[in-house]
């Protein structure tokens, strides 16, 4: 019988990630990133990861810490700070392999993986350098039109990490912000998906039945859950809290001075989550961060 109690600690979740695995990270740029789980990776010894993400500080920090062997990406950005400074440093030092693609190709590759297809056809990427740089092959329509398209390969994930507003211990989840981004597809493209949440409830049907339409990921795609209030910080977590622009500015400045991750990792990661949250003013201060105006 399936064990439906999926509660785990963040450390247990990260212990499931082995050297060399491919890890997908949900969210979008500086928005609703599972940052507490990313910090837990940064506190671990795991290495040589392939990271797939619509990247923000999650990607920048993992690159800075030398955790990334290869990056699957369409952009890495903090929005208001357009160029992610630590990602830039890693790229300009030639430290990481990359598979660069269009944002739409990225979600298409996740969908291919979700459906266990080797690829899905697309016109996107034609006329650009992406196919040649990424080794993307073409495929021809077998029908009368004979159209030649790119065959976007499946982006198969070993593990996906996602941050939600609510979960119950069986893995039912709710996303109360205005956008799921491509988190449901990360979950379906992965062998195992771990979801951190602002609030862990006993039974969703008792606690928040009125919000069930906000269930983005059916629980059969969820392997583990952990309650981590403030776990998206410094990214935004609507409607609970906004991003921490002061944090982003400090983080960006540190890429220039001192420019050495080992000197600042304590400040941006902390020895554990409690220490990290205390260093940024505590969970109440995180909860009070205003929602960003676009």
């Amino acid at each position: 019988m399936a064990d439906l109690d999926k509660r785990m600690s963040a450390r247990d979740i990260v212990a499931q990630i082995e050297d060399g695995m491919t890890v997908g990270i949900g969210g979008w740029g500086p928005r609703r990133k599972p940052m507490a789980l990313v910090r837990e990776i940064l506190r671990s010894d795991v290495k040589d990861l392939t990271i797939a993400a619509f990247g923000g500080a999650d990607v920048g920090m993992l690159c800075a810490a030398g955790k990334v062997k290869k990056l699957i990406f369409a952009f890495v950005s903090l929005d208001a700070i357009p160029l992610e400074p630590w990602f830039r440093k890693a790229r300009e030092a030639g430290q990481i392999d990359v598979f660069e693609m269009d944002e739409g190709m990225f979600q298409w590759g996740l969908k291919a993986a979700a459906f266990d297809m080797p690829f899905l056809p697309t016109r996107v990427g034609l006329g650009t350098d992406l196919a040649e740089l990424g080794g993307i092959k073409t495929v021809q329509s077998p029908y009368d039109d004979g159209e030649v398209m790119l065959a976007m390969p499946a982006i198969k994930l070993d593990v996906a990490l996602i941050h939600a507003n609510r979960c119950d211990w069986r893995g039912n989840n709710q996303f109360l912000g205005p956008d799921y981004y491509y988190d449901p597809w990360f979950a379906k493209a992965a062998k195992r998906t771990f979801v951190s949440c602002e609030e862990l409830v006993e039974k969703m049907e008792d606690s928040h039945p009125d919000d069930v339409a906000a269930n983005a990921i059916e629980r059969c795609f969820v392997s583990g859950v952990v309650e981590m209030p403030g776990g998206a910080h410094p990214s935004s977590m609507p409607p609970a809290y906004g991003w921490d622009m002061g944090w982003f500015k400090d983080y960006a400045a540190a890429a220039k001075d001192p420019g050495d991750w080992s000197q600042v990792s304590d400040r941006f990661v902390g020895k554990d989550e409690a220490a990290y949250q205390a260093s940024v003013g505590g969970v109440d201060k995180i909860a009070a961060l205003p929602l960003p105006v676009m």
């Binding site: 890495v76 990359v98 990427g125 650009t128 956008d179």
Partner: protein
């Protein structure tokens, strides 16, 4: 109305916003995306004047019928009329061709190919890493696109080809046999010097309007490749009083004054 406002009061940024709005002009119902101060104000102006069919978002996930002013405002200070989150942006806007985007790429070449990914070095180790290609490849192959360049020069309008082709243009060497390039539709490039389109021979970039006081030779001198010249090349139309009123309403904090150094007037001095 009509009559244009006193030219001495009109800034170059406002002239460009008016030209960007013209680029967005359409009879269709499509999503207008203007990235950056001038393109976004151009899209808003188009929506509020000649192109009411345009759909716009608040930059987060909501469609609005009243374009959202730029700059600081209250989070809830926007009226939601519809829903277009990133999670369905490709399904609804990009891959259906129902969108016109105006962006500011780092490089543009004579084929209209642009670069947003990296400059110099190699893809393995770029000299300068930028954003990554973002949605440019899909935008370029599926829907109309325009560009705004606040500083017209050879660093942007490069000789040869862009360092990394992030969006498809009209380069025959980049087209594989059997591929469908029929939706590539590059419209306008608005710069601090002029307005261009792709109406030259074989879609060559062509100057159609010169901003007041600017010469064609000056534009050519600031461009890394040979430009075509429209037969009826004229002066870029000045914004009407009505347009200036809308621009002011959409930019209550006057962020447009910070787009170009020293906020020059529409007709430059001397």
């Amino acid at each position: 109305m009509e009559g244009n406002a006193d030219m001495t009061d009109i800034s170059l940024a406002e002239l460009c916003i008016f030209a960007c709005a013209e680029a967005f002009r359409t009879e269709r119902e499509i999503i207008a995306t203007g990235v950056g101060t001038v393109p976004r104000l151009g899209a808003s102006l188009a929506r509020l004047s000649h192109s009411p069919g345009l759909l716009m978002t608040d930059g987060e996930a909501w469609l609005v019928e009243q374009p959202v002013p730029i700059g600081p405002r209250d989070y809830n200070d926007r009226k939601r009329a519809g829903y277009l989150p990133f999670s369905r942006f490709f399904d609804s806007a990009v891959w259906t061709g129902r969108r016109h985007a105006m962006v500011t790429p780092t490089q543009i070449d004579r084929f209209g190919q642009t670069n947003l990914s990296y400059l110099g070095g190699t893809h393995e180790q770029p000299k300068v890493q930028m954003l990554g290609v973002r949605g440019f490849p899909g935008n370029s192959i599926y829907h109309p696109n325009s560009m705004f360049i606040p500083q017209h020069g050879k660093r942007v309008f490069v000789e040869g080809e862009v360092d990394m082709v992030s969006s498809a243009g009209y380069n025959p060497a980049k087209r594989i046999k059997g591929g469908n390039y029929s939706a590539i539709d590059l419209r306008r490039i608005v710069t601090n010097l002029c307005v261009m389109d792709f109406g030259g021979p074989d879609h060559a970039i062509r100057v159609v309007h010169l901003h007041p006081g600017v010469t064609f030779d000056e534009v050519q001198e600031a461009t890394g490749f040979e430009l075509a010249k429209a037969d009826d090349i004229g002066e870029t139309p000045l914004p009407t009083a009505e347009a200036l009123e809308i621009i002011g309403r959409m930019d209550p904090h006057n962020l447009r004054a910070k787009v170009m150094k020293d906020n020059p007037p529409a007709r430059r001095a001397g």
